[in-house]
Subunit: 124 residues, 2 copies
């Protein structure tokens, strides 16, 4: 399965911890992009964008295919799966609560009457 090496996770989460880089990933989710295309939406130099791409590449999130003088980047989702796997360890902590939240949100609709009006509140 996917390895949960701490160094790897450091790289992945660090790469994800920047708005510019996440926007680049969102762009790459639509398909292959050259370095210039990836850099275009941002108010920064091409060199700066190139560095961001290198960070994504170092995290394994981006694959680079050099064709002539243009570098074509594509999304490699494997590290995202690794991050997801790490998050999965903690999923039990929020699934239950989100279920409760969801129930609370649906309270706008016909409110489900609490079957157990015990005075004690749950969790938290």
């Amino acid at each position: 399965m996917v390895e949960l090496d701490s160094q790897t996770l450091d790289c992945i989460f660090h790469a994800l911890g920047d708005t510019t880089r996440r926007a680049m990933l969102r762009d790459l989710a639509q398909g292959e992009r050259t370095v210039s295309e990836l850099a275009e939406p941002f108010a920064m130099s091409l060199a700066a964008a190139s560095k961001h791409i290198r960070v994504l590449e170092a995290a394994g999130l981006v694959r680079r295919d050099i064709r002539g003088r243009t570098h074509h980047c594509s999304l490699d989702p494997t590290p995202l799966a690794t991050a997801d796997q790490w998050l999965g360890i903690y999923r039990r902590f929020w699934t239950g609560r989100l279920d409760a939240l969801e129930a609370a949100l649906r309270a706008e609709a016909p409110p489900p009457p609490p079957k157990k009006p015990l005075p004690g509140k749950e969790g938290e």
Copy 2:
């Protein structure tokens, strides 16, 4: 639903991008811990550990309850759910399921669709 604010995601992923902080979260997953207890496994000063806890707190991952002179920390999984939600946008890229959206986005070279359901496994 959970908000996907970029500043918030920056904070969350930055907090997760450090081995020490992830270890602290793993510890907190077992239950409440004081600052000293959280710091104890690490070969660093209490002040350094305290800073890590503050980063986790800033990301909303840790809740602090001051009782007397001891600060009791507990895990707040909400930001993990937010991170999971962000990852969810890309989940289709590694689950192997080709849904209509991906087909529409990647309008080039559709590979023959494998019919494997591939049940998602949670690691460890």
